[in-house]
């Protein structure tokens, strides 16, 4: 394995520059708020989801600070309930689910398939406004008393007992859900209808395959969540017996419907991250991706099988043992396509000319952390072990390894990979590599102790705990503070790069994708001439200059 030390690669063949790009084509607030350019909408989403990420992050910080001591001296039990609810709701529904499709997907999808825009540009803008309405309403909920049900809104607590802002909170989520549906619809139609000449399905970049799979889940699962919350509202407002056993309802019905959306939602979060990794590994290994079709179809398989496993969230909730057996088996099956991806990524690295620039560091971090998250997921799919660790910190650690260790690392990888394309500017590699390292170390220190805590029996969602768990909790909080620094750093050096003079050029990584065949930042119409695709997306062996398309 050869390690290259060049900071970044020489320019590719497309060196022509254009005076006009999507950033300078028009100025003023109106030109942004009424834009239908997918690139500008991507940036609008970037700012919105970043705000929500920091809101969720503040809640997480307060949770970890409270857990520094066994007696939970920072906040009351009620406030603690509201904090973990706020953290979960904001992070899941307003950051993790939308972030990659709406920011990187919005910006890159048309560029990667050689299109001028998404299929429905105005619907795209509408989806951002709808997201904003949902996000504002959620912020209003949080700052006017909050909600204490957890992000899962389990009944009958949410429908009967909770005296907090349950209905406004679920309304905000339903509104944001429509934004998801519109994005998914837009992506599916765009991939089907707007591919450049010569761009066949098996020449599509794997990030596009992953966005396509994600969109299918968004379209098929999100309406169920909306319907579920309408049913919740009906029971809460008018006392119609749907989930409340006292009214002849069934609380497990709520959990079935909730997880029918929310488990596939995990794949909404992780699949785009997998797509990003599949873009970055070949580029920084200077090799074609190993097993292109296996990786492409494994995305579809994950999207489909991911719909069949939701019952594993209910193993101890009173679910029938026979159903539990079926869900356990199906949960094991979903590991197969995930493992196919990891093995193919590893094979891509084998004998590659690997260089460790920032996107690659984040991508490698993704693989390591996602693998730990995935393997502990298999442990949880086992019925016996699940009963032991159910509702403990083992679960918390497991899903954070997937959602933060996997998804957020993947997002950071993609953001650093495509930042030069989005802005035309190159960030400081030194600071960026340091940030990747800090995030990785901080993450491990935050969540590894939680696996042990959970295995020892510390339940989740309690604001006090026995004194013997304090050392591991202090370690976890220390890790969280390191993690916080790691996340603040990119915020600083990426913004600084905008004011810096280091221009990236059209193709700083000498990558082969179509998006690199146009100037950075791209012109309003994306390509100066319509690209004609003549080979696959990762033909690094054909040309070191990234010559992917002829015009």
């Amino acid at each position: 394995m050869t390690t290259l030390t060049t900071p970044y690669r020489p320019q590719a063949k497309v060196t022509e520059t254009t005076a006009e790009n999507y950033l300078n084509v028009a100025y003023g607030v109106k030109s942004w708020l009424l834009t239908t350019d997918h690139k500008r909408i991507g940036l609008l989403y970037l700012m919105s989801v970043t705000v929500m990420f920091f809101v969720g992050g503040v809640a997480a910080t307060l949770i970890r600070l409270n857990l520094l001591t066994p007696h939970g001296q920072l906040v009351t039990a009620d406030t603690y309930n509201k904090l973990f609810s706020a953290h979960g709701i904001v992070m899941v529904f307003f950051f993790l689910v939308p972030v990659v499709p709406t920011v990187l997907g919005n910006f890159m999808l048309p560029l990667m398939i050689g299109a001028r825009d998404l299929a429905f540009p105005r619907l795209n803008l509408a989806s951002w406004y709808i997201y904003l309405v949902g996000a504002f309403l959620m912020l209003l909920v949080l700052f006017s008393g909050g909600v204490d049900t957890g992000w899962t809104f389990y009944t009958p607590f949410s429908s009967k007992a909770s005296h907090t802002n349950v209905l406004p909170a679920v309304t905000a989520i339903v509104i944001a859900g429509f934004s998801s549906i519109f994005t998914g619809l837009n992506f599916v139609v765009t991939v089907h209808r707007l591919r450049a000449p010569g761009l066949t399905w098996f020449r599509l970049p794997l990030f596009v395959w992953s966005l396509y799979s994600t969109s299918i889940i968004m379209l098929l699962a999100t309406p169920v969540l909306a319907m579920l919350f309408v049913l919740l509202a009906i029971e809460r407002l008018w006392g119609v017996g749907i989930f409340d056993p006292a009214l002849d309802g069934d609380p497990l019905l709520f959990q079935h419907l909730f997880w029918f959306y929310s488990h596939p939602a995990v794949y909404i979060m992780i699949l785009p991250g997998m797509g990003i990794v599949s873009e970055i590994l070949p580029c920084f290994s200077r090799k074609n991706i190993f097993g292109y079709q296996f990786i492409a179809f494994s995305s579809i398989s994950i999207a489909v099988i991911g719909f069949l496993v939701w019952g594993h969230h209910m193993f101890v909730a009173g679910e029938s043992v026979y159903a539990a057996l079926v869900f356990s088996l199906l949960s094991y099956l979903v590991a197969v396509p995930s493992a196919i991806k990891v093995f193919n990524w590893t094979a891509t690295l084998y004998k590659g000319s690997v260089s460790f620039q920032t996107p690659m560091l984040f991508a490698l971090g993704f693989i390591g952390l996602f693998t730990i998250g995935g393997l502990t997921g298999l442990m949880l799919a086992a019925l016996g072990l699940n009963i032991h660790v159910h509702d403990t910190y083992f679960i918390v650690a497991h899903f954070h390894f997937i959602m933060v260790g996997g998804m957020v690392m993947g997002y950071m990888a993609g953001l650093h990979y495509w930042w030069p394309k989005m802005t035309g500017k190159m960030y400081s590699e030194w600071w960026a590599r340091l940030s990747a390292l800090i995030i990785f170390v901080g993450f491990i220190l935050t969540f590894m102790p939680q696996f042990i805590l959970g295995y020892l029996g510390m339940p989740r969602r309690y604001h006090v705990y026995p004194a013997e768990f304090q050392v591991l909790n202090v370690l976890s909080t220390a890790g969280a503070s390191i993690l916080g620094v790691g996340y603040l750093l990119p915020f600083a050096y990426l913004i600084a790069s905008l004011f810096g003079r280091t221009r990236s050029g059209p193709n700083p990584w000498a990558a082969t994708g179509l998006e690199w065949q146009t100037p950075s930042p791209p012109p309003p119409q994306n390509f100066l001439v319509t690209p004609h695709v003549t080979c696959g997306p990762y033909e690094y062996a054909l040309s070191s200059e990234g010559d992917h398309a002829s015009s």
């Binding site: 098929l220 419907l257 719909f307 029938s320 043992v321 159903a323 869900f327």
Partner: protein, 96 residues
Amino acid sequence: MAETLASSRSYYLVFFALLALTFVTIGLTFLHLGRWHTPIALLIAFSKALIVALFFMHLRHGNRLYWLALGSGLLWLGILMTLTLSDFLTRDWLSY
């Protein structure tokens, strides 16, 4: 995409058919049909859904892509109901 549009008259007919079926559903609640009550109500609901799908959603005149979209939705509804019922129908067989 070539597509035959239905006339305004057929839309009005469909609208009134849906209204009529709604009144039938309401009327059904005043009858004492015993165990036939739910199946009949479901049959009416299915008829209404079919009418909406065929006319308002243009499936009657649409191409195969429309049917694919409908088929996907129904397949996923089937998954939701089958696996949920796998719990409900077997819960009494053996408990923890």
